[in-house]
Symmetry: C2
Subunit: 187 residues, 2 copies
DNA sequence: GTCTATATTTCGATAGAC
DNA sequence: GTCTATCGAAATATAGAC
């Protein structure tokens, strides 16, 4: 075996990676139901049966593809609101495709809905710790709700008004409302 | 023909109504793809073939079911923000099922996405007229975006934190942010 | 290990009996 | 006019050849 020959484990790892990338791409674009295993396999340039061989079922493939969603958002440093604005990619023009894949299907696929509730719940928990007052959890939930709305409208519905606007402008306009939500008092 | 016998046209109208109600219910609950014609017919207590006979295709049935979405929101009177809060049913515990049916599928069904963009665009237009400044349309879009986020999280994702909170409390916490968005100036 | 072929299911849609 | 029966397409999933 020459050194150009990859170990079978390594080759398998790479093929799995290609399949997962293609899956994230298609799940994010058209959602769980319309993203067929055949199309994913075609995009990854592998045989459809291989996808089943590796992941067992479409459900399993989806779960593997949308994993790693919790790893983000932990980038501390700035204050609450700035972290929020940065987290969901309002400042950056980017978002992890695994998150988009999950969000695309969260209204119509039970598994994705459960994942969304779990992820949002965790972020609400963390956010609520930094908010004083009795209604900290509700305030945190509403702040996350705002981010959900922006992400859905911008990245999933692709509303023209949001696509054309500079991200800093969007952040600037959202900032006061988020400060009112996460701040200590309200009119 | 006794008076207890309904005219055939009237009987047909009622059957169509039952089918449309069942369609709205199922489309709102599980989305376009998973709401099968068979299940809709079962819920309406009619034969599946009858649904096809009346509406021609699943697409047509969906379009008929989610129509009438634009009729709302025109309830003038209060000021901007109060109308917004009332419109998407944050105050009321209710929302038209046709709206929920459209929103449930808007991320995964192209037709529903187009309908959502159209409806949101119209509301953004109307809202922008009452907002001064260069960035009126962006501000209007972001205000609608907030409402989308609340509706999605509350009625579709059914986040516990929002379900448990009194609607007036939610409205109270959202009000400052919406005022900042629709008001004339911002920090 | 990889792919061909197919089994199995489930849907939307149609044709024809009553 | 309403329903029974079925078609045809497309999907997931499996079995077996190579």
């Amino acid at each position: 075996m020459g050194e150009k020959m990859l170990p079978r484990a390594e080759r398998r790892r790479r093929t799995e990676g290609r399949i997962l990338d293609a899956a994230r791409k298609l799940f994010a674009e058209v959602g769980y139901e319309r993203a067929t295993i055949r199309a994913i396999a075609r995009s990854a340039e592998v045989d459809p049966a291989l996808v089943m061989q590796y992941f067992g079922s479409k459900q399993e493939l989806f779960q593997q593809a949308v994993r790693v969603v919790d790893a983000d958002a932990a980038t501390g440093g700035d204050d609450l609101v700035e972290r929020l604005l940065a987290t969901l990619g309002v400042k950056l023009g980017e978002m992890p495709r695994s998150s988009l894949a999950m969000m695309r299907s969260m209204l119509t696929h039970p598994e994705a809905a459960a994942s969304a509730r779990r992820t949002l719940g965790a972020q609400i928990d963390r956010l609520a710790e930094s908010i004083p007052g009795e209604d900290a959890r509700l305030r945190a939930a509403l702040a996350m709700t705002v981010m959900v709305g922006v992400t859905v409208s911008h990245r999933l519905l692709e509303l023209d008004e949001l696509r054309e606007a500079p991200p800093e402008e969007i952040a600037r306009l959202l900032r006061p409302g988020l400060r009112a939500l996460t701040g200590p008092d309200v009119s």
